[in-house]
Amino acid sequence: MSSVDATGLAHHFEDLEQQREAATLGMWAFLVTEIMFFGGLFGAYVVYRTMYPEAWDNASNQLDVFLGAVNTTVLIGSSLTMALAVRCAAKGNNKQVAGFTFLTLLLGLVFLGVKVIEYKHKWDHHLMPGPHFELNGVVGGHEQIFFALYFAMTGMHAFHMIIGAGLMLWVIIKALRNDYTPQNHTHVEMIGLYWHFVDIVWIFLFPLLYLLGKHGHDIAGAATGGH
């Protein structure tokens, strides 16, 4: 069994350094798989966008840019608080770890809340892809594929955030139990890497989904939302 000693060293490693290096490499290897996972969706996006550029502009104009931009800001903020939490853990300051992680969690929840509002809006306007999809009275246009990918991409992203939120709770509990020391806080670091990765995905999703076909539109009018 992978028994763990008092310093947090599992039996099959030689020392904490080896253990930590293994964890970091393992996390990055995992993130590589995540890149390819979202990459499949981005690939489909690129292919269809080259096939149906007009539909893409049209459909993108249905999204609420302002909410999207706000959410981007929120998520970036949560990335900052996460980075700060990791920094405090490296100093062994468990109280601050709990505090910053809690902030991160909060910002994450704000993001998900905004997403719910956006989804609700799509639902109300028949923009859920499927047999009932309808845009400006047209049924079965290529815009539907945009929305299928929009929901798949943002849905997968939100799903990753929900898992991240669970992990945050775990960090908070461990921090409140004073588990982190300057020598052994790999746990927070790894979860931090995961959270930053989720942020990066959104950094690409925001311009690709929300900001197409905007030129010619009025930037001020955008603030009140698409429709």
Binding site: L16, E17, R20, E21, T24, L25, W28, A29, L31, V32, I35, M36, G39, G40, F42, G43, V46, V47, T50, M51, V65, A69, T72, T73, I76, G77, S79, L80, M82, A83, L84, R87, A90, K91, P182, Q183, H185, E189, G192, L193, H196, F197, D199, I200, I203, F204, F206, P207, L208, L211, L212, K214, H215, G216, H217, D218, I219, A222
Partner: protein
């Protein structure tokens, strides 16, 4: 990590990165309403890549990590690019063949 004492990044760096990200976000937003023709998307992507780059380097500490970690981080993106490139070479060359009289 190359040493058992983890790198502690100065707070200033973190806030600078944060500022870059925020500025980047609203810059993309603003730029999207300008008409650059086909350049709109490349510009937006360039900003996104810079943003992702600073997150990877500073927030995710890759700047201070072993070469191996850097290779893995870079490898993921490079591979993704090959997936795109080799898929698109199909779509972009489909109507080169003059089968339509």
């Amino acid at each position: 990590m190359s040493s058992n004492h983890p790198h502690i990044t100065p707070l200033k760096t973190y806030f600078a990165v944060f500022a870059t990200l925020i500025v980047g976000t609203w810059l993309t937003y603003w730029v999207a309403y300008k008409d650059f023709g086909w350049l709109n998307t490349p510009v937006a992507m360039a900003i996104a890549i810079v943003k992702a780059g600073v997150v990877v380097l500073y927030f995710m500490h890759v700047k201070w990590q072993s070469k191996l970690t850097m290779m893995f981080a870079a490898g993921g993106f490079i591979w993704l690019f090959t997936l795109f490139a080799f898929t698109l070479q199909d779509y972009w060359t489909r109507d080169w063949m003059p089968i339509y009289k």
